[in-house]
Symmetry: C2
Subunit: 308 residues, 2 copies
Amino acid sequence: MKITTLAGGVGAARFLEGLVQAVRQEDITVISNIGDDEEFFGLHVSPDIDIVIYTLAGAVDAAQGWGLTGETYHALDALKRFGYETWFNLGDMDMATHAHRTQMLRAGATISDATRSIAEAFGLRLTLLPVSDDRIRTIVRTPDGELPFQEYFVKRRTADDVLSVRFDGIEAAKPAPGVLEAIASADIVAVAPSNPIVSIGPVIGVAGVREALRSTPATVVGVSPIIGGKTVKGPADRMMASLGMTPSAAGVAEAYADFLDVLVIDDEDRALAGAVEAAGVRCIVAPTLMTGPAEKLALAETVLGAVQ
Amino acid sequence: MKITTLAGGVGAARFLEGLVQAVRQEDITVISNIGDDEEFFGLHVSPDIDIVIYTLAGAVDAAQGWGLTGETYHALDALKRFGYETWFNLGDMDMATHAHRTQMLRAGATISDATRSIAEAFGLRLTLLPVSDDRIRTIVRTPDGELPFQEYFVKRRTADDVLSVRFDGIEAAKPAPGVLEAIASADIVAVAPSNPIVSIGPVIGVAGVREALRSTPATVVGVSPIIGGKTVKGPADRMMASLGMTPSAAGVAEAYADFLDVLVIDDEDRALAGAVEAAGVRCIVAPTLMTGPAEKLALAETVLGAVQ
């Protein structure tokens, strides 16, 4: 069984931790958001790609959910001397990843090439693809003006109201090699419990991706990142509300309704099953909180079991 | 009194430690070798410039004579994962310097601009100039073929016989802004006790520099890096011998004879004073071993006292 996962951020990384317990990595393709990529100190950082790699390599700092375990920040501290803002916590070991990626990109490699190189170096056996090799940049409009995503997300800790979101460059972005094929040829396409707007949004916004999701013979199964009207982590609930969406599992079903076959919602949201089905999406009610390895595996099995 | 120093490497940094005790930093201009600049992991490293900055900032690792005190190597260790050779010891804090320099260069700044920015960030008040803003690359020919300087110097620990040395790009290199002026307008030009071939060679090889040294009204004073036929540090003695030069203070006088007014040689080489004078260079015999702050200051005062 071939599984393709649309991914962005911590929720996706945790979902994939369960999936790799359930199936062979060789049968998994991950299509990652790159809209929150940013350049810091001349280094190209791909947070959503790296969080998947570090997590599946068992190298992630489990307490904070990102970065490398045992990380130090000596280079970052030293950069302060040169007047740089250092609110983006780049660790010393992490910086090696970004230096490698940056050097490959400067030498003419694509983000796909760099991603493959890093994933292989960390021992991953699944296929990890950026949604595009072209630059996509998520920009969040707030009452204070437009902010690059990381400035909104990390520097300002998602404190601002989000008035609108745009993905700079997405109109011209082509899907990376393998992206449309991985959707078309999968048995299941899983939409990870990630922020529908800023994590999954830049993935399904690339030309051809949404159409591929609609037309694939695969069962397209989402997991709601909203439980009881709240996100486990991150600003998806507030962002959905401020952008006029319903911040609930039902709102997620509506956002994905044109391509989603099944949505897995949490037991706590059992009452929303009808609203999900009303959006034309089959609803599975199951535990979705990924508190430990067993819960992650169970959620993966729920998703895999959604194929009829 | 304005002092301009031609510099390259550890010997120059130690000489400058004495000079800054004797005169105001504002009266000193340092013209640095850049022939051993190298790119590692996409970062532009300028070893001879950084050693001056780190040393005068009191930040250098005194035991090894290069790098930063209290340095860690976590990023370098992490780079091994990606298959990089890591024989060039780039520390985490040091990497911040190189990231900053690289980012400035990529944004269109010159090596002069980057050098000034880094020197200021470390609190230096002297003027530190790269000899050129153009790329010069020291290449050492050995029985095993040509090697970039750092590969000869660091990776292979100067073990190879040196058959010839060339400075790739030097024919086209223009002196950086201020270089010729600093030589022409100085009261003293000091040639630091650095390797005459690979440290001072790429400085005086840039178009116009040697002519400026010949024509300046300043007293041009060298300090022999060779004591008793040996260098304190580095391969200058063996390199001079294999290239057909006399590996002694007299050989240094001969190499610089066309522009040098005075050479300071060590007490131990008193017997060579005649040979130095025979090369047309006035000889001062004095202690030159820079074992501590007092000895460094004494050597600086010897050089400053050479003006007649």
